[in-house]
């Protein structure tokens, strides 16, 4: 029982990976994808879908705000992960840098999700058939889980007791995940 308490996050992470693997390799993935078609078709009929499809200028401005959200989130991630990698602010603890970056990360993410939802409604059926869109969603889900279930708790509890390599690996993993999210998002634009 004490083992379960001590390694709750690790066990939860392993469980999520196991569930995702089973989901990805079974027929459940195709069934879920087919079931989501109706949701995507419906989203094109919503107000967001209507505006996105009718007013190109509105869509373009929301796209630009999506990029601003990416910049805010990216800035917060780069500073936080740069500290984990020991590139800068080494005279401050990882927890202090993490605390400072937290608000920027959260609002950047909110802006990304809000504008992303609007854009998705405008081109819902197009992205539904794009594999790269689903890769991006997978990477985004991984990024959010990693940030809030692994990185943040790791750094806010006892970061000074952590091995330097644990910090470096956490920073590297975080940078790689968010780079994948951003690159996959850009690639959606080239896949139309």
């Amino acid at each position: 029982m004490s083992l379960l308490t001590a390694y709750t996050r690790t066990l939860m992470t392993v469980a999520v990976i196991a569930i995702t693997t089973v989901f990805a390799l079974s027929d459940l993935r195709i069934a879920s994808w087919e079931a989501l078609e109706a949701v995507f078709a419906w989203s094109e009929t919503t107000v967001f879908g209507y505006i996105g499809k009718t007013w190109g200028a509105a869509f373009a401005i929301v796209e630009a705000l999506h990029l601003v959200g990416l910049a805010v989130l990216g800035g917060a991630v780069i500073i936080g992960d740069g500290r984990l990698l020991g590139l800068w602010f080494t005279d401050y603890s990882c927890a202090e840098i993490q605390r400072g970056a937290q608000r920027g990360f959260f609002w950047g993410l909110m802006l990304l999700l809000g504008t992303g939802l609007f854009m998705a409604c405008g081109v819902a059926m197009k992205i539904y058939y794009m594999p790269v869109f689903w890769y991006k969603m997978l990477a985004l889900g991984t990024g959010i889980l990693f940030a809030y279930c692994i990185r943040k708790p790791l750094l806010t509890t006892q970061p000074d007791q952590l091995n330097a390599w644990t910090l470096r690996l956490t920073g590297t993993a975080s940078l790689m995940i968010w780079f994948t999210v951003a690159a996959a998002g850009r690639w959606i634009g080239f896949s139309g």
Binding site: E63, L67, A71, A76, V77, I79, G100
Partner: protein, 190 residues
């Protein structure tokens, strides 16, 4: 006169083999564009962090000038990559880009952002060390931070709008826009 010179220079660039190759290469063009966009996180991302710090909205636990000083090098590195990839994107489609309304507004906003940055740095030097640990920077620096955010959001919006052809010369825009973007009578359409 100036527009004709720009047009001639753009035509010359357009006739170079490398420009055509880059424009026609799916992967090279898209990789350059992706690098241009993703470097936003390094350049604009770090700049916004500095601006938000001045406004008391992020990293209030760190001294403002120290944060600004330490982020300068990676931020300028990001801007350098953006500048190089931006030039490459222009080189790939020189005629249309040189006559883009949005690119011209973007360049004006970049100039405004540059002037604002210079003024901001002067205020930063003159502000003294007393406020450094305060949550918010002095008013002059906060104004500069808002100006910076406004200019850069405008730059990103204009950059995104370059892809749209609403005001291209081939669409015969209104005379005022046509004069501003430098459409040439009888030019070949791009």
């Amino acid at each position: 006169m100036l527009n004709e010179l720009i047009h001639q220079a753009a035509l010359w660039l357009d006739n170079t083999a490398a420009s055509t190759s880059m424009h026609e290469s799916f992967y090279v063009y898209n990789w350059v564009e992706t690098t241009h966009v993703l470097t936003l996180t390094l350049s604009l991302g770090l700049l916004l962090v500095i601006d938000l710090r001045m406004l008391g909205l992020a990293f209030t636990n760190l001294p403002a000038t120290r944060l600004a000083q330490r982020l300068q090098t990676p931020m300028f590195l990001g801007f350098a990559v953006m500048f190089i990839t931006g030039m490459a994107l222009f080189y790939a489609i020189p005629v249309r880009s040189s006559q883009s309304l949005w690119l011209r507004i973007k360049l004006l906003l970049l100039l405004a952002a540059l002037i604002n940055a210079l003024v901001f740095h002067r205020h930063l030097r003159n502000a003294g060390p007393d406020w450094n640990n305060a949550v918010k920077a002095p008013l002059s620096l906060r104004r500069g931070a808002w100006m910076s955010i406004g200019c850069w959001v405008g730059v990103v919006i204009c950059g995104r709008l370059i892809a749209y052809d609403w005001f291209d010369c081939s669409k015969n825009p209104a005379p005022l826009i046509s004069a501003f973007v430098g459409c040439i009578n009888g030019q070949e359409q791009f």
